[in-house]
């Protein structure tokens, strides 16, 4: 699904971190280039420490590239940080729920920050909890919810602000396979229904194949080692892609 106007574009983006122990610099990303089109779900796959989260943080505007050009809907996510108010929703690896807020108030957080009308914000938050099967748990605090339920709340929180782009950083990696499979299916359905663009980071091949219209495999430091379009491909082609991904991931890479 090649889109004419990329929602996310990286052009020769590099990121170097200074090691805290003073042992010089650490290159996390090396001239990474890619684009993500509107409505696309791109799964990013790679071994631990390959720079997936660095890419994620650059798109989210949380860190600044050392060199190169990163653009999200044509704007610089780091320097034009406030431009993206309400435009990017993030589902993190752990649920990151505020323990002092109920499930309802956690979903409402983004809406409150965006100054949405309180009554409407509450209705929106309730509706999202209901969609994710959490009716009746609105006033439960996070500690009273299971891991799967907490991750559902965090998905509801990301969707509630109706963002254009969804960034997901291994959101189901800490859940059991059954719960993760249900949430993956729910996530894809919600992205499609609401016409979102999504970047989904994972280290599981099956998950990437199940979710992505396209799969990008990263090598360390973050650069694309393999890329494949999955939307509309046959089962045989998908098997070939899967084998190729396994082959690419098996290649020895420099340690992080």
């Amino acid at each position: 699904m090649a889109a004419a106007e990329p929602v996310i574009s990286f052009k020769d983006v590099s990121k170097t971190f200074r090691r805290p122990d003073g042992r010089g610099d650490f290159i996390a990303m090396d001239r990474l280039s890619f684009t993500v089109g509107k409505g696309e779900i791109v799964a990013v796959l790679g071994k631990t420490g390959c720079g997936k989260s660095t890419m994620f943080n650059i798109v989210a505007g949380l860190i600044e590239p050392t060199s190169g050009e990163a653009r999200v809907v044509g704007h610089d996510p780091f320097h034009e940080f406030d431009f993206f108010r309400g435009k990017i929703g993030i589902v993190f690896q752990n649920d990151r729920l505020m323990p002092w807020r109920s499930a309802l108030d956690n979903v409402r957080l983004g809406l409150q920050i965006l100054d949405r009308e309180p009554k409407q914000a509450e209705e929106t938050a309730r509706a999202w909890l209901k969609r994710l099967g959490l009716s009746g748990h609105e006033h439960d605090y996070p500690h009273a919810l299971s891991g799967g339920m907490r991750q559902r709340v965090s998905i509801a929180r990301a969707f509630a602000v109706d963002p254009e782009i969804l960034l997901c950083d291994e959101p189901f990696s800490s859940l059991d396979e059954m719960t993760a499979r249900d949430l993956r299916a729910e996530f894809v359905r919600l992205v499609r229904q609401n016409d979102k663009t999504a970047v989904f980071i994972t280290h599981q091949i099956n998950e990437a194949m199940e979710i992505g219209d396209r799969v990008m495999v990263f090598h360390r430091p973050a650069r694309i080692a393999y890329e494949a379009h999955l939307a509309g491909t046959s089962e045989a082609d998908r098997r070939k892609v899967q084998e190729e991904i396994m082959r690419v991931l098996a290649v020895e890479q420099p340690s992080a």
Partner: protein, 256 residues
């Protein structure tokens, strides 16, 4: 089966009754000017509580404790947030506060008597200076324990500084603030008595000085009990606020 709360109350009551019984035995063995009988102390305590002019002294001390603590809390909160956000501020402020921590309360009393004329300002100054470092460092600790995960999650919605303060920083530091109040309340009650003993013409400390001059042990005990009662009531009030404010916390059944 008796519940744990009732058991705790019964045990605490038993230990206080044992202490009173021991005192009563001592009063039977030693002269009453050294160990007055418990009923005498109780009647003097009640007399203070029901006599307007005497109760005014208790309330004056209470006001001084609250005034000093509140002043130190506000100033400490501002300093803690300044230190938490700026390394330069920390380099300037932290050594001064550490230096202040080493100055005995009695030295501040002497400085206040030399520097200031007004009794109320003297006491307020002493209270603020003796509790300021503890308030600042305790609030700073709470601020620094703020979760990086929650910070990044909140930042992903692009909040204003004020919104970030309201939705993340305040709830994060509330447990630290409540602990700081509980710890400093006991310190403040001790310091205010010293301040009033040396540099005031009213309050519990001043009345204690009078009882010492009259060699009235029952009076000294009764005035001391006023302060203890005041601290206990405020501690319980803070505990109740804490139980409400931190009701979201999970409690293990083993810990009950």
């Amino acid at each position: 089966m008796m519940n744990s709360r009732t058991m705790r109350i019964l045990q605490a009551t038993a230990s206080m009754l044992a202490l009173a019984a021991l005192w009563q035995i001592l009063s039977a063995v030693f002269p009453h000017f050294l160990f007055p009988p418990v009923p005498d102390i109780i009647s003097r305590t009640i007399e203070i509580l029901i006599t307007g002019s005497l109760l005014a002294d208790v309330l004056l001390t209470a006001w001084r404790i609250f005034g000093g603590l509140f002043g130190a809390f506000i100033l400490g909160g501002v300093l803690a947030l300044a230190i938490g956000q700026s390394k330069t501020a920390e380099n300037f402020i932290a050594p001064v506060l550490t230096f202040f921590q080493g100055i005995p309360a009695l030295s501040w009393v002497v400085f206040a008597i030399i520097w200031f004329n007004g009794i109320e300002f003297r006491v307020l100054f002493i209270m603020v200076m003796t509790t300021l470092p503890a308030f600042t460092f305790q609030i700073l600790d709470a601020f620094r324990s703020m979760s990086k995960d929650l910070f990044e999650m909140t930042m992903s919605f692009r909040p204003s500084r004020w919104t970030l303060f309201r939705f993340l920083i305040v709830p994060t530091i509330v447990p630290g603030i409540l602990t700081a109040w509980k710890v400093n309340l006991g310190n403040a009650a001790r310091v205010v008595v010293v301040a009033e003993l040396v540099g005031a013409t009213g309050g519990v400390g001043y009345e204690l000085l009078r009882q010492q001059q009259l060699f009235d042990m029952a009076g000294a005990m009764a005035w001391t009990l006023q302060l203890v009662l005041f601290v206990l009531i405020v501690q319980q009030t803070i505990n109740a606020i804490e139980a409400y404010a931190l009701r979201y916390r999970a409690v293990s059944e083993r810990a009950m």
